[in-house]
């Protein structure tokens, strides 16, 4: 193990799935995709939630002297 000090690197680049180093498990891929929808939505909301909240504040909040229109960034 670590006491063996020589390792051989085999060039990375196996097409995923076809010759994966590890058996990912069909069931594991399936559940990942299924629940990924929920986690992905949560992630997107969290990342852009800040901007959505700021956008709302600028549009519906108290008018400030230097009121700038909220920017609608492409997401």
């Amino acid at each position: 193990m670590i006491s063996l000090f020589v390792l051989i690197i085999i060039a990375a680049g196996y097409p995923y799935g076809a010759h994966a180093y590890l058996d990912p498990g069909t069931g594991s891929y399936a559940i990942q995709v299924l629940v990924g929808v929920v986690f992905g939505a949560a992630y997107t909301l969290r990342s852009f939630g800040g901007r959505i909240v700021t956008g709302f504040k600028q549009r519906f909040g108290k008018k400030q002297p230097a009121d700038t229109p909220s920017d609608d960034t492409e997401e």
Partner: protein
């Protein structure tokens, strides 16, 4: 290497550094390079780790996976054996685990991560601390259907545990004999990152259980007076100054009080103990001090980790790994000689195989803690005396120092192995 990930990880101490060598590869035709990784002081395995050690290893794996994705790379496996501890600091040792991230592909190592990290931690936190022993039985992590069955029903109310353990197990069962081409599965990068975030949050939510163990509170309940404790400390400190060990192994170390004398003397020190609460306490203290020279482990010296895996040699046994320059056997001999019925000669043989120097404390029957061991059993130990102890050890060790510990019934010895 060119992605910058290696530099980022190794300079933060998260991945072992390596150097390229000019060694001849074993199989030239497929070899790209031969690398030599930095050598680590001690190899330990997940079934020897306390709760927080396993949890920190899990969180490190997720952290590294997120950083890899930022460089368009991904971990191709998430085995707990890819993490080692340098003292209290976890580090990834599998330099070769990175592959190019193909946008849209699910994480190939997700199953392994759930089995190696999430399942055992959930079981330790929510059922019983001792369930980490299942990792010795299942060397590729705990099967999710087993974890699902053992976890309490209320865990289905936790989104992370529901999805990554319960539904995951169900999905594995339903699709067990179906083969669908992996290219049919699409997972966006946001979904993958969201999943990693949820795994992190779920893990962080798993707390160390309020479990009462036999030796968890021992440091607060010893039968040593301040004077006795200080006398013992002074003797050991002085002997270590003479020997100057590189490596110390403390057997029955509890929370590592005396193991730290080994660290103080400049040695890399392993603090092994049977009690998972004691080891947890020790680890948290070492981690808070970022101690890279103290490694706490959960080990029962009367039944230490055996060789496991293929040919019983994939994972070396604890005794093969635990050779040291000095071994401590403090406040332990009565458990071995009385509770475990071991003759002194056999105890001596075990330690002689480990070390040339043994710091050992003889606890006589009249000691109050030894009395507790005899309280409910017949005293069948006529040979368990100081004379018996010295005679029993004399065929493997000679006595260098022998000191009575003031204010105590106990005697401290420094023994040297006869070669």
């Amino acid at each position: 290497m060119t992605s910058g990930l290696y530099t980022e990880l190794s300079s933060s101490g998260l991945l072992v550094s390596h150097e390229e060598t000019a060694e001849t590869p074993a199989v030239k035709e497929i070899a790209y390079k031969v690398i030599k990784p930095e050598q680590l002081p001690f190899i330990s395995y997940p079934y020897e780790w306390s709760f927080s050690q396993l949890k920190d290893a899990a969180l490190l794996t997720l952290d590294i996976q997120k950083r890899a994705l930022a460089h368009n790379l991904s971990l191709k496996d998430a085995s707990a054996y890819n993490i080692q501890f340098v003292g209290s600091q976890p580090i990834l040792i599998d330099t070769l685990s990175f592959e190019r991230y193909e946008a849209g592909s699910p994480w190939v190592a997700y199953r392994q991560f759930c089995q190696h990290f999430l399942a055992p931690l959930a079981l330790m936190s929510l059922v019983d601390l001792r369930l980490n022993g299942l990792l010795r039985e299942y060397i590729d992590g705990i099967p999710l259907d087993l974890a699902s069955r053992l976890l309490p029903a209320k865990t289905r109310l936790n989104l992370g545990l529901l999805t990554h353990i319960h539904l995951h197990a169900g999905s594995q069962k339903n699709l067990a004999d179906k083969q669908i081409a992996p290219t049919r599965y699409h997972l966006s990068q946001e979904a993958l990152l969201g999943t990693l975030d949820n795994l992190q949050a779920t893990l962080r939510g798993l707390q160390f259980p309020e479990q009462v163990t036999e030796w968890g509170e021992y440091p607060d309940n010893t039968n040593y007076s301040r004077a006795a404790h200080d006398a013992k400390t002074d003797f050991i400190r002085g002997w270590l100054e003479d020997i100057k060990p590189n490596r110390v192994c403390d057997v029955g170390a509890n929370a590592g009080e005396f193991t730290r004398l080994g660290v103080e003397s400049g040695a890399f020190s392993v603090a092994s103990d049977i009690d998972p609460v004691a080891v947890e306490r020790n680890y948290r203290k070492a981690r808070a001090e970022k101690d890279r020279h103290l490694l706490p482990l959960v080990i029962d010296i009367t039944n230490p980790s055996p060789g496991l895996g293929w040919a019983s040699a994939e994972r070396a046994s604890f005794l093969e790994r635990a050779k040291a320059d000095v071994v401590f056997c403090l406040a332990l001999i009565h458990h071995l000689g009385i509770s475990n019925n071991l003759p002194f000669e056999q105890i001596a043989d075990l330690f002689a195989a480990m070390t040339p120097y043994l710091v050992i404390e003889f606890v006589p029957k009249r000691d109050s803690n030894a009395q507790k061991l005899l309280a409910s059993r017949k005293d069948i130990f006529p040979n368990y005396t100081a004379e018996g102890f010295e005679a029993g050890f004399s065929h493997r060790f000679s006595i260098v120092h022998k000191e009575s510990i003031s204010d105590s019934q106990r005697t401290l010895y420094l023994l040297k192995r006869k070669d």
